[in-house]
């Protein structure tokens, strides 16, 4: 190889082709995604994310929660995501259009959280219960005690204070970051139906044969 400009043209096109292929290709497919209006429920999905949940997403990102938890349900039949109760259907790109930084994750040391909000709602878990979980941790997950503050009781105890955990005369309260994180976790719901996420059903071959 003696031709310098040709060599650099080669380098340029090697990276340029992959970039253009991926970015332009996907942007054409996904760039125009808009919420889906479900006529039966008379609501559009996915729902917009409340501001506090958006703050919680940043806490989730800065603590690196994605290094143990994914937020992507794979299609039925590919892995045991449905059997583990992580979601009825696969996650699709439209589910994430309102998230400033989707936390798809790469590891499953802990369960998938794409539908954490749905599961918590079904189990009747209150934000206080989720906060207690964060404070206690358990065998597989570290406790996040630095998200809580212990402060001196001054008059009436705070309504948000955790039960136990603080010595007499003190109370244990979640920081704003902890509350935002919990609001974010409880906002994670992919329980609505989207047309592109319907499981593929092969045409009924017996019916066709009869015709």
């Amino acid at each position: 190889m003696k031709n310098g400009p040709l060599f650099f043209l080669g380098l340029f096109s090697a990276l340029g082709i992959s970039w253009a292929g991926l970015v332009i290709g996907i942007n054409t497919q996904l760039g125009g995604l808009s919420p889906y209006f479900d006529e039966a429920q008379e609501a559009a999905f996915p729902a917009r994310i409340p501001g506090i949940a958006e703050q919680g997403l940043r806490v989730y990102r800065d603590l690196g929660c994605a290094s143990c938890h994914t937020q992507q349900v794979r299609r039925p039949g590919f892995g045991a995501d449905q059997a583990r109760g992580w979601g009825e259907r696969q996650s699709v790109a439209r589910d994430y259009i309102y998230q400033s930084q989707p936390q798809l994750g790469t590891m499953r040391i802990g369960p998938d959280l794409a539908n954490y909000g749905t599961r918590a709602e079904e189990a009747g878990r209150t934000p206080a219960a989720v906060l207690a979980d964060l404070y206690n941790g358990h065998a597989g997950m570290p406790a996040y005690r630095f998200l809580f503050a212990q402060r001196k009781l001054d008059g009436e105890p705070s309504a948000k204070a955790l039960v136990g955990g603080a010595p007499a005369g003190y109370e244990l309260v979640p920081t704003a970051r902890a509350e935002a994180l919990v609001a974010y976790l409880l906002s994670l719901k992919q329980s609505y139906d989207l047309p592109e996420a319907m499981p593929y059903e092969p045409a009924d071959s017996t019916k066709e044969a009869a015709q």
């Binding site: 003696k2 991926l22 590919f78 994430y96 499953r108």
Partner: protein
């Protein structure tokens, strides 16, 4: 000890090498500091997996942040510094002239290391960007980009001012690495941080970037070293050299498509992962050519530098085969989201680290003059590195397979999974501890060498390395 010094400069001393010694040694030395620090953080991080309470009360060292920190220290601190030093050195040697503009290396190197330090502190404080292999806080990204550009300037000068118009394989790989990194880095910086794209397209860009970091930066730097050093060490020409050019272009054109392997089943268009799986097979063409070119490495009876290169290149080739096999959906359904993928990552990065280490053992005496203080320490380092590396990859792979099979069985709870994988993760921890010890020995040996040379330099005329070079 000054009496033991020879009174005159040894014949055959090559001024090219010493002229650029200091700045490159600065890069290597700081790279080694990051290697030790990164390995230590990786060790703590592994312990945290099966002992969640370990360091959990300290926000700075919570599992997720520590993982981002160790990854950043090793990728940008160690491989960044050492890779730049190796790439520049190969370009200077094959260009046939001393590096020009070495002040750029010093200035750029200082800012690069300042940037990595800031990145680690930033991640610990909660400013991570939140993408695998791209955790750098936003305020660090421009700093790293500009320092990289400064360090690469002498490389560009060595390329444009080369003595021969025709070029060698080592030069292609080194120039490609230096030229492409700033480009895909800035693309990722803009599209992920400063003007983030919408929704899951971010995940595609992030995997594209992470793959490029390996295929277009780490792997080319390592291959540049192998293609340059192999003929030097064996005294033989590279067999089937005519094919090397096809190997080069096939890595560049197809390697950057492989990122989608990590997005199988993810909420992105399915063709992204299909393209990646198909291209993984195409890129094997590159690996086959590299194998035929460098097969002399695998002959027995060679020095320690050769052994580092041989194990490293072997791991590089094996990693391609493993990555290709396990990108198939039938296997990915088990290994996806598990420690097995970490094993794959460690295999690829360890391959590069072994090659960089071998190159540093070869380069340093030629940059600083003199010889390594202890041959035994080099051999010991090789043994500990090789054993620790194999053990780490193997134990993570087994842990990952157990984890993946269990995840696909809904009857197995997460507590049971961590119980089943615990012993393998403990084995991985032992391997990581061994690697940390090996790297610490390496860094101390390097420090002793350099300090000794500096003392000699002050005491008498510097002792130049005796080596006859052809290229």
């Amino acid at each position: 000890m000054t009496t033991a010094l020879p009174t005159k400069v040894q014949p055959g001393a090559d001024e090219n090498e010493q002229a650029c010694g200091g700045p490159l040694l600065l890069l290597i030395g700081s790279g080694l500091l990051w290697l030790v620090l990164g390995s230590a953080l990786a060790l703590l991080n592994l312990i945290q997996i099966y002992t969640p309470a370990f360091l959990a009360d300290c926000a700075w060292f919570t599992y997720g942040r520590l993982q981002a920190m160790q990854e950043t220290a090793l990728l940008y601190g160690w491989a960044g510094n050492a890779g730049l030093a190796v790439a520049l050195w190969v370009l200077s040697r094959l260009g046939g002239a001393p590096l020009r503009g070495t002040n750029y290396i010093v200035a750029g190197g200082l800012f690069w290391n300042l940037g990595v330090t800031l990145a680690l502190v930033g991640i610990a404080a909660g400013d991570a960007a939140g993408h695998a292999a791209f955790q750098l806080p936003r305020y660090v990204q421009p700093l790293l980009l500009f320092s990289f550009a400064a360090i690469a300037v002498p490389g560009v000068l060595a390329w444009t001012g080369r003595r021969n118009a025709s070029t060698y394989a080592g030069q292609w790989y080194a120039v490609a690495a230096l030229f492409l990194f700033p480009w895909f880095f800035s693309v990722a910086s803009v599209m992920l941080t400063f003007a983030p794209v919408r929704g899951t397209l971010q995940a595609v860009i992030a995997t594209w970037y992470a793959q490029n970091l390996f295929s277009l930066w780490l792997a080319p730097v390592a291959l540049a070293a192998v293609y340059y050093l192999l003929p030097k060490l064996t005294g033989r020409v590279i067999p089937n050299y005519d094919f090397a050019v096809y190997g080069f272009w096939s890595l560049l054109f197809f390697g950057c498509w492989l990122g989608g392997r990590h997005l199988i089943g993810a909420p992105v268009p399915a063709w992204v992962s299909t393209m990646a799986i198909a291209n993984a097979w195409v890129v094997l063409f590159h690996h086959i050519i590299v194998f035929f070119n460098v097969r002399d490495l695998f002959r027995s009876g060679s020095g320690t530098v050769m052994r580092f290169l041989a194990v490293g290149t072997g791991a590089y080739l094996l990693s391609a085969v493993v990555d290709t096999a396990f990108s198939a959906r039938a296997l990915a359904v088990v290994t996806q989201f598990t420690y097995f993928q970490q094993a794959q990552g460690q295999l690829a990065l360890g391959a590069v680290a072994l090659i960089l280490t071998g190159s540093i053992y070869y380069m340093t005496p030629r940059l600083a003059g003199g010889v390594w203080p202890s041959v035994g320490l080099i051999r010991g380092h090789f043994l500990a590195f090789a054993i620790g590396f194999v053990l780490l990859v193997a134990s993570l792979a087994v842990a990952g397979w157990i984890q993946g099979s269990a995840l696909n069985d809904p009857a197995v709870s997460f507590a049971q999974i961590s119980e089943r994988t615990k012993v393998w993760l403990q084995l991985a921890t032992a391997a990581q501890a061994m690697l940390l010890a090996a790297h610490a020995v390496f860094a101390l040996h390097f420090a002793k060498f350099i300090v000794g040379q500096m003392a000699k330099c002050c005491a008498a005329r510097p002792l130049l390395a005796a080596e006859v070079t052809v290229s």
